[in-house]
Structures are given as C-alpha cells and as structure tokens.
Amino acid sequence: MGKSIMIVGVGGQGTLLASRILGNAIISAGYDVKVSEVHGMSQRGGSVVTYVKYADKVYSPIIDQGEADVVLAFELLEAYRALPYLKKGGKVIVNTQAMDPMPVIIGAMKYPENIAEKMGKMVDLTAVDALSLAKEAGNIKAVNVVLIGFMAKATDIAYDTWIETIKTTVPAKFLEVNLKAFDLGYNYTA
C-alpha cells in the first residue's frame, strides 16, 4: 500500500502546512515517506507544488506525469494545470476558489471558464467549497486543513492518527480552529 499525493495551489494558501500535516500523519502510520516542496518563491502568489509520497520504500521525492493517485488542489486553475500528473483512475479534489493570476489581472489572458465541470468530465473529481467551511471553522486561513480533512478519508490512515498529528504540528493558539476545520472537511459529503 502506498500513495502519491500532489498538492497544488497558490503561494500563501498554506500548502506547506498541509504537506507537513500529511507527512507527519503518514509517519505515525508507519510508512516510509518523502515530501518535496520548492521554497523561495512560495510566499509570492506563484503556483506552488508539493509532492507527498508514501510506501514501504520511497525513492524519488518528486511525482512525475501520470503518477499521482490524488491531486489535492487549493485553487481551480492550479488543479486544471496539474491534470497531466494524475494517474489513470486517480482522483482530483479541488477547492472551488478561483484566483486570477497576473496575466489575467493585466488582461493579457482570460481565466478559463467552468473548470470544475470540464475536469469532472475527464476525471474522478470532487469539488469542495473549502473557503466557506474554513469560515465556518472560524478562520479563512484554515482552507488547507479543511482540504486535508476531506482527503484524509481517501487514505488508509486512521482518524485518530490525523487528530494526534494536527495536535503536534499546528501552533497551540490555532489548534481549536484547525481541529474544527479538519472535522468539517472529514465529514463533508459532495
């Protein structure tokens, strides 16, 4: 058993914390794991990609095209961009937020229309309004943990392992919000 999970989003959306929670939960479950992230530009609103791979033994830290079991996308356009990385039969989980990139802001290109519908026709896709759920949890920044919560169900890692991991990974003052966000994601049904 093992999985390759690709987390994509926009710099500033909290993908790094999401990958950290995921990585730590996987270790608690006893797997070998590699988490790969690119820093440096990550806070500056660019595309951000993180790879999380677990199995009995993991070699490459990167996920190549056609390899991801799950693409966990924090933003619609970034999900669309990541499609070639999905394995045949893989699953896309996408937050319904849309954020204009600079070429769209300056009017040089259009933001593609109806991305979720188009992707839904091509692959196994679940769209989650994580921003609303994060608001419900008490902080819009908890979008990342809502999405981790929803994805957690697609793994073979126990609920309690996730909760313990969040307790040890997230700063104490944000713990309550994040536990609530995780549960809202975990219990969400499309």
Binding site: K34, D64, P112
Partner: protein
C-alpha cells in the same frame, strides 16, 4: 528516534551531531534553511554574514582556530566566496571545515544553472553528494571526519530536490565538540609565495591519497542486479533512476563526486552491454568516464538543461512512454510569482515605469519588477551588479543617457556587494543615482536579518548600519529618504536626483508587508467616483481586478496598504475598516 526532516534541516542536525561550533552563511535559495535550522542548537555559534566571502572567511578562521565549522551558500554564492576557498585548500584545516553548496537545476529561484562540481575539481577539494535527508545527515558527519583526516576543507553538494525534500532521519547524540589546540604555524597558514609553493606540493600529495580513498570508500556503492545495463549516478538523479529502473539495471551510486574513482568505474563497466551516466547539468562524471577509457551514454540521451525525472529516464533507457489521465485542452494562463499585496517595491517600480527610466536591476524580491505590468527592469546580473553596471552604462553612453538611468538594489543586497559599487561610482566621478529599496529585511529568501535590521540571526539586538550615514561616508553628498507609497514625492525626488550631475542615493524606505511588525488594517473600496481609467491596474496588485463593470477588490488578498488610494487620480479609491 526517526524524524521527517528537510534535507537542509538534516544537514544542520548532522553539523550538531558532528560537534560543529561555528556556522557563518549568507542566505540563498535552496540553501537557506541549513543555517536557519542551526539556530535550534544553542551549542553552535551561528551568524548571517554580509556576503558569502565573509562567511567563508569566518568559517575558515574558526577551523584554523580548532573548531569544526561550516558555511552554507547557493551555487552563485560559491562564486562570491571562491577566493578564500581556493587558498583554504592550500592551508588545510585544524578543526574540520565544510562548505555546503546548493545547486538549482531548473532554476526554481536562481539566475543561472551553474554546476558546482567544477569548483571541487578546480580547488582540489573533496565533494560529497547526498541523495536524501538521511544521507544529508550522514554525509555531513563523514565530511568532517574526512576533512580532519586528509587536512582539507570539504564540500557537500546539494540540488534543490535534495535540499527541499523531507525524508526520514535517525536522530543521534552530539559528539565531543572540544576545540583542537591552536598553535601558530605560519608555514601552513600564511600563504605568501614561499610558503604556498610548499603547500601546493602538500595539496597534490593529498590528491593522490584521496584518489586511492575514492576506490575504497563506502560512500560509493554498487548494486549488482545481474543486469546487462549499468547506471552511474549520484544525488537526486540516483533516486530518480532507482524509482524508474528498480532492479532492471546495475547501479554504481557515487556519494563522493570529487575525486571520482577510476578502477571502481572500470570494474563496474566490465561485461556490461551499456553504461548510462545520469547527472543533471554538466557532463562531469561522463567526461571522467571517457577520460579513463570507459564508454558511456550520457548527455546525448539526456539534456544539459534543467532537471531530470523518472519519466525521462524510463523513456531514454527502457523506451517506456507515460500514460496520463487527462490534460487541459486550452491554453492556461501561467501564474508567475508576484510582489505581495502591500509590497513596498510596488510603489517604487510604479514611479520608475511612469518616468520611463533605464533601470539597472539587482537580485531580490524586487527583481519581480521586471514582470508585467511594471516591466521596469533593464538588467539583472548578480548580487550587487546594479551599481557597477549603471556606472558602466554611463561611461559608455555619456551624460544625457545617465539622466534617464537609475540603479535599484535592496538593503541586504547593498550590504552584500552594493557598497563597493557605490565606492567605485564616487571614486571614479560617476554622476549616477542609486535607489536603495530598504524594506528592512532580506525578503526573497524568507526574512533573514542583515546588518541594516539591528538584529542578529538569533534575534538579539545589535548595532544597526545606518544606510544614510554609510552613503555619505563614501562621499555621496545627496542622500534622501523617501516613502515609496508617497508616489508624487518619490517621483519628484527621482527626477531631481537623476538630473543632478553628481552622485546621489535615494533610500526608498518602507518595511516588507509580510513582517510581523507591519500592521496594515482595513481594505480598499472603489467608490462611484471611479472613471474606469484603470490607472490603479498599472501597479500590478494581485488584490485588484478589472472587467467591463469596473475595478474590483479581492478582500481575501487586500491588506489595506493604501498604495492604490495614492495612485488614483480622481480620489475614487478610499480605505475602509
């Protein structure tokens, strides 16, 4: 106990376990987190130096004084520190000395793709290359043993994927960190010709011993799967190859990439039908193999450009194609990094673009000023180049050109290597204007303190370099401080200074919006005074968007910095909340 650690954090753990006592570095992606993680260990003295050359000198001095020491940098930082490094190869060490250099194949966050392995060969210094976090820690410790055993500095070479991947690392205790005795020994440490001539002999003798060591070390390993194809590889390329090829080939994994073994490679290749060399960037291992008479397939089947990947290796060696699930069937807008909402640089570049100046740029967040819609920069070469570069332009094209020319450089970059450019400008009668974009932090690499912030890497208060006094001290008589969000005032200041036939400095001062001390409140609101002139769209703020109905503010992104309010010619944007 095992922990999930970033490659860079694992190196810091390795340094701790190896008993390292002194670390000095300058930040640079993807190496920065090594030094940031050293801060966790109270036993180690750690600092941000003003640049890599000074950092290397501090580490060399500490090693001569008997401490295990370290300096970490990105590949281009190694260019800056090359001078002391080449001579430290001659002096050798007392306490172990390690330089950790992180290359960036694919240029995730760099201005070039140079291959640092050439430096190991040129400076005659051993180089180890780990392939995951576990090896990052182990190789760091081994490097210190080798440094002391062979009396040489050592390199640890990383690539972005190794530096920035997390994998499991065994956590162990710190070793004995006692200082070695210091004794005055000018024949070894004073590198004037009479001594250096003798030390060069020692270096060449050391190379012979290291060549013999390269044949026997456990850093290089062979995995014989009884195959007819062999793969020689190191670092991240090894793990890609292992993932792509499993047990279908035999592997020679090189943990020591300089010096490379001879007999080990010749023996490995014996009896194989084909031997591939898998290495990103230059054909460093490949050319070595050819030079020792081993026929290999290298760059002709792969590439000199960017990163390798498991799929690329599968295609080249097994001729296997990848099946993908789906792909967007329309062109997708790219999402390049942008200046953050509230970024102080946005005001500076808005004005520079408006004035249509030739802008000699530098390395930092503000390099993003080259991107649309600001499109402000004309050149970016390396850390500090903006000032000397502009002086060169002026000397080439004369006074009139200089009136439309300005250099932009950040506070940390100015301390790194801008100050010497400014001295050159004043000394050689340049009349240029330099704009120091002082955002009170080293921004691009993720907020490191520097000599202008008044704090050390551990957050302790220290002397703060006064940029205004510093510029005046080197002979610039016209130095003024302006807030980049007061765009009218900034425009006036720039016009005056570029037209002045004397050297001048404008310090464009406002702290980075991501600093915890910066508290913007509220958000922008577009009122019905808006005439849809779209002037506010020219600042390239990610919180603003425009369509046929007018301008919109994304409240999730807007932090209420107020720049758009200052830019609007009709007073149509106001701040609320």
């Amino acid at each position: 106990m095992k922990k999930l650690l970033l490659g860079n954090a694992a190196i810091a753990q390795g340094a701790y376990e190896a008993g390292v006592r002194v670390v000095s570095s300058y930040p640079g992606t993807p190496s920065t987190e090594i030094t940031e993680n050293i801060v966790k260990y109270d036993e180690i003295y750690v600092e941000w130096a003003p640049n890599e050359k000074v950092a290397a000198e501090v580490a060399i001095g500490a090693a001569i004084a008997g401490a295990r020491s370290m300096s970490c940098m990105k590949h281009v930082g190694l260019n800056v520190m090359a001078d002391p490094v080449f001579t430290a190869s001659y002096t050798g060490v007392n306490g172990g000395l390690l330089f950790c250099v992180a290359d960036d194949p694919g240029m995730h966050s760099s201005q070039n793709e140079q291959d640092s392995r050439h430096y190991a060969k040129a400076s005659k210094i051993i180089m180890l290359e780990p392939s995951d976090s576990g090896e990052c820690k182990e190789f760091t410790k081994i490097a210190y043993q080798l440094s002391e055993e062979f009396d040489t500095p050592a390199f640890l070479r990383l690539t972005t994927r190794v530096a920035h991947s997390q994998s499991l690392v065994e956590i162990e205790e710190r070793a004995n960190d006692e200082l070695k005795p210091y004794e005055k020994n000018p024949a070894k440490y004073v590198m004037m010709p009479g001594n250096a001539i003798k030390r060069h002999v020692v270096v060449e003798e050391r190379m012979k011993k290291l060549a013999a060591f390269a044949e026997t070390t456990n850093l290089n390993t062979i995995e014989d799967n009884g195959a007819k194809i062999g793969v020689i590889s190191a670092g991240d390329c090894y793990v890609y190859a292992k993932e792509a090829l499993g047990t279908k080939v035999n592997f020679l994994k090189l943990g020591l990439v300089f010096p490379l073994p001879v007999k080990t490679i010749q023996d490995f290749a014996q009896g194989l039908d084909k031997v591939y060399v898998l290495e990103e960037l230059d054909p460093f291992i490949e050319e070595h193999c050819r030079s020792i008479g081993v026929e290999v397939i290298g760059k002709e089947a792969f590439t000199l450009l960017g990163e390798y990947s498991p799929n690329m290796i599968k295609k080249a060696i097994l001729n296997e194609d990848v099946e993908i699930a789906a792909k967007a069937d329309e062109p997708l807008p790219v999402r390049p990094p942008v200046m953050c909402p509230g970024c102080p640089h946005r005001g500076s570049f808005y004005v520079l673009k408006k004035l249509g100046l030739t802008v000699s740029g530098d390395i930092g967040c503000y390099t993003l000023g080259a991107a649309a819609p600001l499109n402000a920069l004309d050149t970016t070469i390396c850390m500090g180049a903006s000032i000397g570069g502009a002086l060169g332009m002026s000397k080439a094209r004369g006074e009139e050109f200089t009136k439309n020319l300005i250099s932009v450089i950040g506070d940390s970059t100015f301390m790194h290597s801008g100050i010497t450019g400014l001295v050159d400008m004043v000394y050689n009668k340049g009349t240029n204007t330099v704009m120091i974009l002082d955002n009170s932090i080293t921004g691009m690499t993720g907020h490191q303190d520097n000599p202008t912030t008044g704090k050390t890497i551990r957050g302790e208060a220290t002397k703060q370099v006064d940029l205004e006094l510093l510029c005046k001290a080197v002979g610039v008589e016209h130095v003024r401080i302006v807030d980049p969000f007061q765009v009218d005032e900034l425009e006036k200041a720039i016009k005056e200074e570029v037209n002045r036939p004397e050297p001048s400095v404008i310090i464009s001062q406002r702290p980075c919006a991501l600093l915890k001390t910066v508290k913007y409140t509220g958000h922008a609101v577009i009122t019905d005074k808006c005439r849809k002139c779209r002037k506010c769209m020219q600042i390239g703020c990610p919180a603003l968007s425009s369509d046929e109905n007018g301008i919109h503010v994304d409240l999730n992104q807007c932090n209420g910095c107020g720049l758009c309010v200052n830019v609007c010619p009709f007073g149509a944007i106001v701040k609320e909340g």
